[in-house]
């Protein structure tokens, strides 16, 4: 099938402002958008710039705005878009460095701000710490996060104010807050009980829709809000 693909372009070394380039390509319905980008880069314009690595939805490099919605370019297939006109743009709310590449540093800064690491200073047992299947299940969903930023860059509250810690950082905090082995839930809840913390979330659900890992993000944020309100972790 013939696809018309319109791509956001910006080369800071040449362009005063961004523009769009349109390419016509032959594609299979099962092609990934990433395949089309590689095809264009390899055959039409080697300057087209984007990040990618694993190409199957695990490394989280290629979050992009495709026909107005956030996807990983390697997980969006031509047939899923139900259109032979495709527009590809960088994710919103982050500074564009070049074409589809954005500055990810502020995103990772928010991530680091919630203490996204296991904290438990009690001496560990000689073998594993025991954890019931139910206790593991409690936070299993949020362990799937790949830090692609599809959620945070789809959130209107984040677009309105980039100081908002954002859904991805709250997901990271949730993963530890509800882990029965961790001992720093209170510290993280305090961090998120801030004017740029969880209360910026107005349950728009964009994040949940955008998540390529199908994490119930809005629900996870709700659980963190609830834990702050009640002081309980159940």
């Amino acid at each position: 099938m013939k696809i018309t693909i319109k791509i956001f372009r910006y080369n800071p070394e040449q362009d005063k402002k961004p523009h769009y380039e349109t390419y016509k390509v032959e594609a299979q319905p099962t092609d990934r958008i990433l395949d089309l980008l590689e095809h264009i880069k390899g055959n039409f314009d080697g300057t087209l710039s984007f990040r990618r690595s694993c190409a199957h939805g695990i490394c989280g490099s290629d979050a992009m705005r495709i026909n107005g919605r956030n996807y990983l370019a390697c997980k969006a297939l031509v047939k899923d878009l139900h259109s032979n006109k495709i527009t590809v743009e960088p994710i919103l709310g982050m500074k564009v460095i070049k074409d589809l590449i954005v500055d990810m540093e502020p995103f990772f800064e928010h991530y680091r701000s919630v203490k996204p690491y296991f904290i438990n200073d009690e001496p560990p047992p000689p073998q594993e710490r025991l954890q019931s299947e139910a206790a593991h299940e409690r936070f299993d969903d949020t362990t799937k996060c790949i830090l692609c930023a599809c959620c945070t860059s789809s959130c209107p509250s984040f677009w309105a104010n980039e100081e908002y810690v954002g859904p991805a950082a709250i997901v990271a905090a949730h993963r530890f807050i509800f882990d029965s082995r961790d001992r720093a839930a209170a510290e993280r809840l305090k961090i998120l009980n801030d004017q740029f913390g969880v209360y910026r979330c107005h349950t728009v659900f964009n994040c949940t829709i955008a998540c390529p890992r199908e994490i119930e993000i809005t629900q996870a944020i709700g659980e963190v809000k609830n834990a702050i309100a009640t002081g309980k972790l159940d």
């Binding site: 800071p12 984007f50 694993c54 460095i97 296991f118 560990p124 593991h136 362990t143 790949i146």
Partner: protein, 597 residues
């Protein structure tokens, strides 16, 4: 010029690099350089589990794990290193759990374990549950957990820095040169010790499970600096890649009871591995699949087979095998259980194949997967540069880019994740210890010259060649000639084509002339690495006149222990000639014998 100085520089931020960083940072001033954001590293795509004889369900011993690894390696693995790894495995997995890794759990709250290819009870020969897992995203959880621990311990990261040269002064490690992708600037990192944890080179082949980033950078730049490579002819094809795309479908699917079926609906692995069937080691299973397809027994005569994990199929064959649950009840699964244990696999199949594995079989074919060979090291991650195992001062390697050798001619499933945590740790410890007693080497004035000359050559090329075309011709000829089954003719042809491609490579004109995020330039540089590696792999494969593990050739179909129970060492000289030498395999207690599964 941007100059930095650290006691230890770690190159690569996958599991091996992060583990090395965690340990080295306890006593040394270190930095981690990675061409990707660390959480993008290929460790994250590992699925099924990390091997350790915890025995959480049933009797198991690290000695059994060691023997399975030796047998899996087709007796080419060094047995002292294998024993070391399998012994350390148990504590290493507990350590990951103590870092907070969210392992799946047994009903009594211990780390869950599943069967995997080649993991056996050594007394009965039956499969044993040894793969410790976090659903089917074990690598993802290891990568995230180790990155998180590095953040907790304030490890210094230079993200999106591509290392392009290794600096040696008078035969001693002096640092690395890196290109900052965001600015195009060169940086010199002066270091007492350098740890390479740069991964493998599966992008040499056409159908591959490997990430775009898997271009053998560390191996290529070490061999350009005169470091030998070990056992480069051995490269693993994983039996179950998604048809055409090569995306990995974990062996854990077969661990959970999935079976391979041919076009006649037959469970053909019964013929090739009567005892463990679908859980034979990967080389054996991939070759069986190749032979089935070659004999016209692919699905509809095509070049793929079915991996079937539908509950009715699993239950039918589990009953025939007499498979039991740990409590002694018959092994019967439901669709919900399959979905809970293999969520990512189900997602991949739905997304890329439009197939729901709970109700339909998945079309699969073998896919290029793992680099067994690489930079020779001892069990402490120290790079050793000749047949006498002379240590190269200040240089370390760990993970897929290294060859300890624990994987020999064929890696056992789950031993890659084990390799990165055990040898990553020891490389980190050893490098920090070395740095304590060593000084910085004085760098020459022209420290970036060698790297610059390579990039100048790429930038000044004027020809008409196309990067995609050169890359696809390499991948196709390597798949054909130096893949799962090798013939003299196929390998000779591949060697000739790859050498021609290396000439044509010099005439690929660069389109992007900018400095900021010049991915065109980086892709081209990476292709240069792949081409050099492809040539070396082919030369080593032609040279080894036997079949062993992943290296199978029609003209020498048998393993030849009298002549070939030895590692290949290969040097690429500055003029391009390749010299070969050998070193003996370390055998402690398992004398080579015929390999039957």
């Amino acid at each position: 010029m941007n100059k930095h100085q650290f006691d230890v520089v770690v190159v690569g931020a996958g599991g091996a690099g992060l583990m090395a960083a965690l340990y080295a940072s306890k006593s040394a001033n270190i930095a981690v350089l990675s061409k990707l954001y660390p959480t993008r590293s290929h460790t994250g795509t590992a699925q099924g589990g990390v091997g350790a004889a915890l025995g959480n369900y049933e009797e198991d011993h690290w000695e059994w794990h060691a023997f399975d690894t030796v047998k899996g390696s087709d007796y080419l693995g060094d047995q002292d290193a294998i024993e070391f790894m399998c012994y350390e495995a148990v504590q290493a997995v507990y350590e990951l759990e103590h870092y907070g890794l969210p392992f799946s759990r047994t009903p009594d709250g211990r780390i869950a374990q599943r069967p995997f290819g080649g993991h056996t009870n050594n007394l009965t020969g039956k499969p044993v549950r040894r793969a410790c897992y976090a659903a089917d995203r074990t690598g993802h959880m290891i990568l995230q957990t180790l990155y998180q621990q590095c953040l907790k311990n304030n490890v210094r990261f230079y993200d999106e820095f591509q290392v392009v040269d290794l600096l040696l002064v008078n035969g001693v490690t002096a640092g690395v040169v890196a290109l900052e992708l965001g600015t195009g600037e060169m940086h010199i990192f002066q270091a007492k010790a350098v740890i390479f944890a740069t991964g493998g080179h599966g992008r040499v082949w056409d159908v591959t499970s490997n990430a775009y980033a898997y271009t053998g950078d560390g191996i290529a730049l070490a061999m350009r600096r005169g470091i030998p490579m070990e056992d480069m002819e051995f490269f693993q094809f994983h039996p179950t890649g998604i048809y055409k795309l090569g995306i990995l479908i974990t062996e854990g699917v077969r661990g959970e009871g999935g079976v391979l079926l041919n076009g006649n609906g037959e469970r053909f692995m019964e013929q090739y591995a009567p005892k463990v069937k679908d859980l034979a080691s990967r080389d054996v299973t991939s070759r069986a699949m190749y032979l089935e397809m070659k004999a016209g027994r692919g699905i509809n005569g095509q070049n793929y087979l079915y991996l079937d994990v539908r509950p009715e199929t699993v239950n039918k064959f589990a009953a025939l095998d007499g498979r039991k649950r740990p409590d002694g009840s018959p092994y019967i699964v439901t669709g919900e259980e399959i979905t809970a244990k293999l969520p990512d696999i189900i997602d991949f199949a739905r997304t890329y194949l439009g197939v729901d594995p709970v109700t339909q079989p998945m079309p699969v074919q073998p896919t290029a997967h793992y680099t067994m060979g690489g930079i020779p090291t001892n069990r402490y991650g120290e790079v050793v540069i000749d047949a006498e195992n002379t240590v190269m001062p200040g240089l370390y390697a760990a993970g897929e880019c290294a060859c300890v050798s624990v994987h020999g001619a064929n890696r056992l499933g789950t031993n890659s994740l084990l390799d990165i945590i055990v040898f990553g740790k020891h490389a980190g410890l050893k490098a920090a210890e070395y740095a304590k007693g060593a000084g910085f080497m004085t760098l020459p004035e022209d420290a970036t010259d060698f790297a610059r000359s390579q990039f100048d050559a790429i930038r000044s090329a004027q020809g008409e060649e196309n990067i995609i075309k050169v890359a696809s011709e390499m991948k196709a000829v390597m798949m054909d000639g130096v893949g799962m089954f090798r013939t003299d003719e196929g390998m000779q042809n591949a060697l000739q084509v790859v050498r021609e491609l290396r000439q044509r490579y010099k005439n690929i004109a660069l389109t992007d002339r900018g400095k900021i995020f010049n991915t065109d330039l980086m892709n081209l540089w990476e292709l240069g690495n792949l081409l050099e590696i492809a040539e070396l792999v082919t030369v080593c494969a032609l040279n080894r006149t036997e079949s062993r593990g992943a290296h199978a050739r029609d003209d020498f179909p048998k393993r030849d222990d009298a002549n070939w129970l030895k590692h290949t060492l290969s040097w690429v000289r500055p003029d391009g000639t390749i010299d070969l030498d050998y070193k003996p395999v370390v055998i402690t207690q398992h004398q080579p014998k015929e390999r039957v599964y």
